[in-house]
């Protein structure tokens, strides 16, 4: 029986590859034959991800995506060295919590740069002629935070809502090039980001209440990776501009 998710011969670019979701999706895609181009600012963890992958032809690049002006040059270099790509997964992101009264412009810009502007800039570069193969599929990691209010998350939730709005526009604009663009919106997922958030809020009533509404429980990074892989694959060839929530049912109430 053929592999349902066959990525043999496909080149897929994964940002934030050193983090929980980036690592999980990289492992899954490599296991199904993809050649991966990994990117993260954390070289040490990036090496851990790359070394642990099936296959030996994966490459990695170290870059801080908060430096938006550096992205275009890096993308040109990657295209020159790796050739056209078949997929992009943007896992890079920061999930800091910060009360509104301390969310100054400089902080908002930092969050928007990594979570939103870097995504748009990468998509802009990767959808240039010769940078992608026919059937390019783009998947951004959004958040269910894009759809509901929560204290201390003005920057984070705004950046994720902006990503989803951008993806809907990209889907329409890039359809004639045969490019698809979607987002996956995870609920609470067992990653380093979640541990960080828990350090300050684990005991609070609002946090317990939030988790209690995730009816199927906490997501694992592999749950998110499965959805990303589906959207990247040809099996999702008629899906574009969509948001796939992976949240244990939280958005259903």
């Amino acid at each position: 029986m053929p592999d349902f998710l066959d990525f043999k011969g496909k080149k897929i670019f994964v940002t934030g590859a050193a983090g929980g979701m980036g690592q999980a999706v990289s492992a899954l895609l490599a296991a199904h034959g993809a050649h991966l181009i990994l990117l993260d600012r954390n070289k040490e963890q990036l090496d851990v991800t790359r070394i642990g992958l099936e296959g030996s032809d994966h490459t990695s690049y170290v870059c801080d995506l908060g430096q938006i002006d550096a992205i275009e040059g890096l993308m040109s270099q990657i295209t020159k060295e790796q050739g056209a790509v078949d997929g992009l997964v943007h896992c890079a992101g920061i999930a800091n919590v910060r009360p509104l009264k301390l969310s100054k412009y400089s902080y908002m810009v930092d969050v928007m740069n990594v979570n939103y502007f870097s995504f748009v800039e990468i998509v802009r570069c990767i959808t240039k002629r010769k940078a992608f193969n026919p059937g390019l599929s783009i998947v951004g990691i959004c958040s269910i935070g894009a759809f509901y209010g929560a204290p201390t998350k003005t920057a984070y939730s705004s950046s994720k809502a902006a990503m989803y709005a951008a993806v809907k526009c990209m889907a329409v604009e890039l359809a004639e090039k045969g490019v698809r663009a979607n987002v996956v919106a995870p609920g609470s997922t067992r990653t380093g980001m979640m541990e960080q958030a828990e350090e300050y809020s684990a005991g609070t009533d609002s946090y317990k209440q939030k988790l209690s509404r995730q009816y199927l429980g906490i997501c694992e990074p592999e749950d998110i990776a499965n959805s990303i892989a589906f959207l990247l694959s040809d099996k999702a060839r008629m899906i574009t501009g969509a948001c796939l929530t992976v949240d244990g049912g939280k958005m259903s109430t």
Binding site: P99, L102, Y200
Partner: protein, 72 residues
């Protein structure tokens, strides 16, 4: 940073009028010292003192003086 400057920062974080905090005040007696203020305190100390305050360290604070000491 002087103690006076630190106290002003804390008054701002707890949304209190100026000159209402003193070092010997017990945190448990300050009504405004709630979960949002605690998170604000972590962020303010990171921004202003470039120090990371963990949840565990936060729990050990008993008085305003403890916070002032941590701020350095």
């Amino acid at each position: 940073m002087t103690n006076e400057e630190k106290l002003h920062l804390l008054e701002d974080v707890f949304e209190l009028d100026e000159n209402t905090l003193t070092p010997e005040m017990v945190l448990a007696d300050i009504e405004e010292y709630d979960s949002m203020s605690k998170l604000s305190l972590i962020v303010m100390i990171d921004d202003e003192c470039h120090k990371k305050l963990t949840g565990e360290q936060l729990k050990e604070f008993e008085t305003i003086q403890d916070i002032l000491d941590f701020m350095g």
